[in-house]
Amino acid sequence: MIAYKYDKSFEGLLSAVFEAYASKKFPDVLLGENDLPPLFCDEMVEIVTDEERSTRVWKGLERRISKSALYTLPDCWLSELPDVDMLIFRYIRKAIDASQSIEMNFGDPDVMQLAKIWRSVIKERERVMQFVRFQKTADGLFFSCIEPAFNVLPITLSHFIDRFHDQKWIIYDAKRDYGFYYDLTTATEVHFDDKQWDDRGFLSESVADMDEKLFQQLWKGYFDSMAIKERLNPRLHKRNLPVRFWKYLPEKR
């Protein structure tokens, strides 16, 4: 059994693909830097993340599969699922070895599995677009806290920048403890050590805007009166608005 050890970055994974083809030894397991090697491990190869090598693999892939299929790979990577790296590795290998593009071959279990993962990542991205709730601070900044299941904030940025391009905002991923701050020109990654919001993501009264509470009340009032009593359907409600998001929603407070 051959194991590869790499730094658990997407570039690292592409470098691993390069290494495998260069040495003609294909890994059975991919390990992170601190993972224990499996039993019966014959060979352990340490992968050095190399930008030149990863770019070469990426360029090679550009020739073999279409752009839209290629860009699903980094999206799938954001799912952070435990075995997604091996899945992407196998997909890339199949793409390189096949004589024609494999991207439409959904009869192949790896292609199908990756398509499913991509769909769920994109669904989660949509959920972030749906359920982000900004709160205005006293200095006119809009702040929001959310816990997406996958690490999808980077791929939602273009949407939020386009929509709210004339207001400063922060979207903070409470689960992964980082966020993005948009300062009217670019979005930069930020991390806060002293948090000025409670565990449900609501800003403390000292930093919130004067009218913030009122608008949250207005929204909750509107939300409550929208439901038609004769049609109550808690199951459908929970399916559409998953309970894991309720914590940060003012209407569910």
Binding site: F106, F134, F142, F215, D224, S225, R231, N240, L241
Partner: protein, 419 residues
Amino acid sequence: MNDNVLEKLKTLAESAKYDVSCASSGTTRGHKAGMVGSASGWGICHSFAEDGRCIALLKIMLTNYCMYDCAYCINRRSNDIKRATLSVSELVELTMEFYRRNYIEGLFLSSGVVRSPDYTMERLVRIVKDLRTVHRYNGYIHLKSIPGASRELVDEAGLYADRMSVNIEIPNEQSLQALAPEKDFKSVFTPMQYIKQGSLQSIEERKHYRHAPRYVPAGQSTQMIVGATPERDKDILTLSSALYQDPSMKRVYYSGYIHVNTNDTRLPAVSKPPLVRENRLYQADWLLRFYQFSVDEIVDDAFPDLDLEVDPKLSWALRHPEKFPVDVNTADYELILRVPGIGVKSANLIVTSRRFGHISSWQLKKMGVVMKKAQYFLTCRELPIRTIHELTPERVKRILTKGSNNSMNTQYTIQFPDD
């Protein structure tokens, strides 16, 4: 902004909530310099009410005073309910502040008819014009067109709104006249025609001049109440199908009748809205729009109503066993789409994947085909399986409806052991 607004907002939302349409789809528009907001083509639902319906737009009435007395409507003149009117500045501030907080995707503005249709329509148009030109709002706007409004006003509204709608409410003119004496089909269909003509004209102009203004880019929609009047599903679906012939008509909504005006004897006293029927109508609507069905395949004189036990596609398949089984490896896309349990997504997956090799049943399962239903209607080059011909349609129906906690299934059936 104060508590007074909260009360008004609640009252007017209560009045507006029976309008089903809440789609925010149909327009893709990036931000414009100096304006706020964008519109995403597929629409984003920002919240879901406890009845499971999406809340994408701030669905609100400008006022719930109304001079009409439609029997099915909660806001009718003769009802003793709380009435309120929002001022223009209040409405604009609510929209902008909600939008900036990502609560909503846009505004859905409707109104009770005050003084005259034109007077009301003019006020609505003024608000959307203000939103766009003064407050530089670039998000989604759905505007109700008041039945009977004049052409000039509808034309002007179309320049600012993304989608417009006029509700038919009752799918038959006699029934409509009985319930809403002030309305007739003409007052409903005329604005619809205006919207259609404006939209077609704008599409044509934009082919010649790139900067010609867009006119209701997301098209129009309408709504019908189901279960208030004796119309059959055939009448409703035939009307929908005719409406969909108009290229600007994007959606027809069906709203299960809720008995809000309990003292009106013209209407059936139903305790629960006909949710199953409403659901079946939506399924039939999907068949019309995405599955290449024509309306007389779904309902005809022999079957004027949709089967409440099984969905309309399965019901069609059970009536037409001669079309099955379909071989997924060779059949055309249109035929694969007709197999119960296969949707648009999985039909596309099948058609693209079979170029690489045969598709087997476990692959179908992985692609998301509901094999529980589909197994009786397809073959895929495996050992012969029991299809609808071996089992007879009646038996397939019995198997597929077994276990569903439908109150109609109380009759005992003899279970034959599976051979």
